[in-house]
Homo-oligomer: 114 residues x 3
C-alpha cells in the first residue's frame, strides 16, 4: 500500500500511498551556484521523482519552499516561474529557514497527485 | 480530478483533489495592523476559500503557522482562539520564519477535508 | 468522518480522516535534556498517538522537523536513526526555526497512513 523510492535508514526521498506522492525536502546536488541555479537543480530532481511515480509537475498539489535568505525570493522565483506547468501551478508557501548545510540556499518539498 | 481556485503562473491559492482542499500559505491583505489583526485577516481569507470548495473551518485537518517573531505567539493565538470552530480544532504547528516581505507578520497554510 | 484525539479549543494533537492520520507539531514534555533527549521524547509521543489510531511508525509518510539550532542536526539524527522503522523511513524535511518557547529545541510533525 506504501511504495518507497530511494530509501536510506534515515529517510525516503519519495513515497506513494492512497493516490498521492509525498517527497522529502530536496536540496541541490550542485551547491556551487546561486539560488536560481540551486532552485533549478532541485526542480529537476522533483521532475525525475514524479516521473518514477508516473506523475508530473502539472499534478503537484502543494510545494513548501525554504530559503536560507528570504531576500533571494525573486531569484528563486525566476527558476520556479520558468519551470511551473502552464495553467497548473500548485499551492505554495515560501519562508526563510537556515538549512542543513551552509551551502544549501533552497530546499523544496512537494506533494503530488498520482 | 484537480480543481484550482485563483491561479497565477506562479501558484494556486487553493486546489481540491481526492477529497481534500490544499491551500497556499496565505498572508494578510492589510499589512498595517499587528499580529492579531493580520492573523484575523488571513483566517478570514481561509474561510472564504474553504467556502468556495464547499467546506469550512470545522473540517480543517492541519494548519501550519509561520510567525515573523515567535514572541507574537500569544497575540496570534488571541485571533486564532476566537476563530477556531468549537470542538473542531485542527492539528497545528507554529514556528518562526522570516517571510516574503518585512511587513508580513504571519503566514498560515491549511489542508482541509472537503 | 474526522476523528479527533486530544483536542483543546486551540488545536487537536491528532486527527484521522480519509485513511490518514495528521498530527500536530509535537514538542518535548521534558525540556531539561539536549536535542537527542528531546527528539526521543517527541518520537515516543508520536508512537503513542499512532498506536491510538491503529497505525505505527512504519506507516509514516512524511515528517517535518524544526530545530531551534540547525547545528544540532547530527544530535537529532542520533535519536531519529535509532527510532526509525527498518526499511520504512518516511519522507522528511528538516529546517531551523525558533520555536514557541526558548527551551524547546525540536518540534516534529508527521502524517501517517492508517
Amino acid at each position: 500500500m506504501i511504495t518507497r523510492y530511494d530509501s536510506t535508514n534515515r529517510l525516503t526521498s519519495m513515497l506513494t500511498a492512497n493516490g498521492f506522492a509525498f517527497l522529502s525536502g530536496l536540496t541541490p546536488k550542485d551547491r556551487s551556484g546561486g539560488v536560481k541555479e540551486q532552485t533549478a537543480d532541485v526542480l529537476s530532481q522533483i521532475d525525475t521523482y514524479l516521473a518514477k511515480a508516473g506523475t508530473d509537475k502539472s499534478r503537484i498539489l502543494v510545494a513548501n519552499i525554504w530559503l536560507k535568505d528570504i531576500e533571494s525570493f525573486g531569484e528563486m522565483n525566476a527558476a520556479w516561474d520558468a519551470w511551473v506547468a502552464e495553467g497548473a501551478a500548485p499551492a505554495r508557501a515560501t519562508v526563510e529557514s537556515r538549512l542543513a548545510s551552509p551551502d544549501i540556499l533552497v530546499e523544496i518539498q512537494v506533494q503530488a497527485l498520482l
